[in-house]
Subunit: 166 residues, 2 copies
Amino acid sequence: MTTTTDDLLSIGELSAETGLSAHTLRFYEQENLFLNEVSRDSVGRRVYRRADVLWLHLLTRLRDSGMPLADIARYADLVRAGAGNERQRLDLLREHREKMQAEMARLTASMEAVAQKITLYESALAEGKPEQPWQDDQGDCMVVPPPERSGRQQPPRYTGARQQHG
Amino acid sequence: MTTTTDDLLSIGELSAETGLSAHTLRFYEQENLFLNEVSRDSVGRRVYRRADVLWLHLLTRLRDSGMPLADIARYADLVRAGAGNERQRLDLLREHREKMQAEMARLTASMEAVAQKITLYESALAEGKPEQPWQDDQGDCMVVPPPERSGRQQPPRYTGARQQHG
DNA sequence: CTAGGAGCTCGAGTGGACTCGAAGGCAAGC
DNA sequence: GCTTGCCTTCGAGTCCACTCGAGCTCCTAG
């Protein structure tokens, strides 16, 4: 019945509140991503607290902005260790922010190149030129080549809209 | 010797020019991502043309902006089909651009939430408050909860700096 | 003649973050 | 009693874009 006592939550309730599937919540626990041991009721079912919801909000934000679970786990470790390491936490967050800014810049650059290509197509189509200057098999309308080497990087994937639990 | 005839390239040369590993280039070919069959020399080695370099620039841009290889393959199909489907190509690119814009918005939102958290930490540290208002285990300084459900989405990964062929 | 390097094919492995399914426990409602 | 529904554990599968290795051929330099 997923008892709705004010501040204790079943996994189903937490799932509903966070949008994370029950499977995912168990998985996160197993990966040590919670700030405290998840307690159990008399028959072994997980019992969560309000604070967990808040933490999962932060966690989700970090994930959504591209932080790997491993890094989030390290952050959680720091918090679990208690007061005194605030500077380290801050460093971790700052580092992440920088990576994200770089990532955004990369994305923006590629998007702009693509946008330029779109513009070329648009104007060519508008002027009714059916196939002259922008034949892709000549590649000649791709103006901006990608940045030099510096190691392959993995792009985001908007794999989007994966079904959540259901 | 990877003969440097003006406009014909060995796989090694193409690799050098594009920053994609030879392995990756073979993989792309197998996935039908080239605009034309890659021809072979007398002993079966791949021979590329200048136009392939240009196309790979576009391909790389599309990848880097998050387009899945499957979609790129569809685009390549259109180009291969020759003139007459320009509108479809354009649609495909536009659709991609929209997805990317959405992705950027998502990223930006999460980044801002994290940035806010950083600010909170910073000011708390600056004022020398050692542990009062921003205890993570209370979750209470995470102001902006993530957006409502609407299906889980996969974030980018800045897995960055994968070694290229070497 | 030998060594080295580039290329070939095929098939398997990797990593991250889930995602799913099987096999079972327990409580409430019909 | 039986069904329904939520929960448990554990292990395996999925997806994507590579990435790697083995075992081979071929050419050139020394």
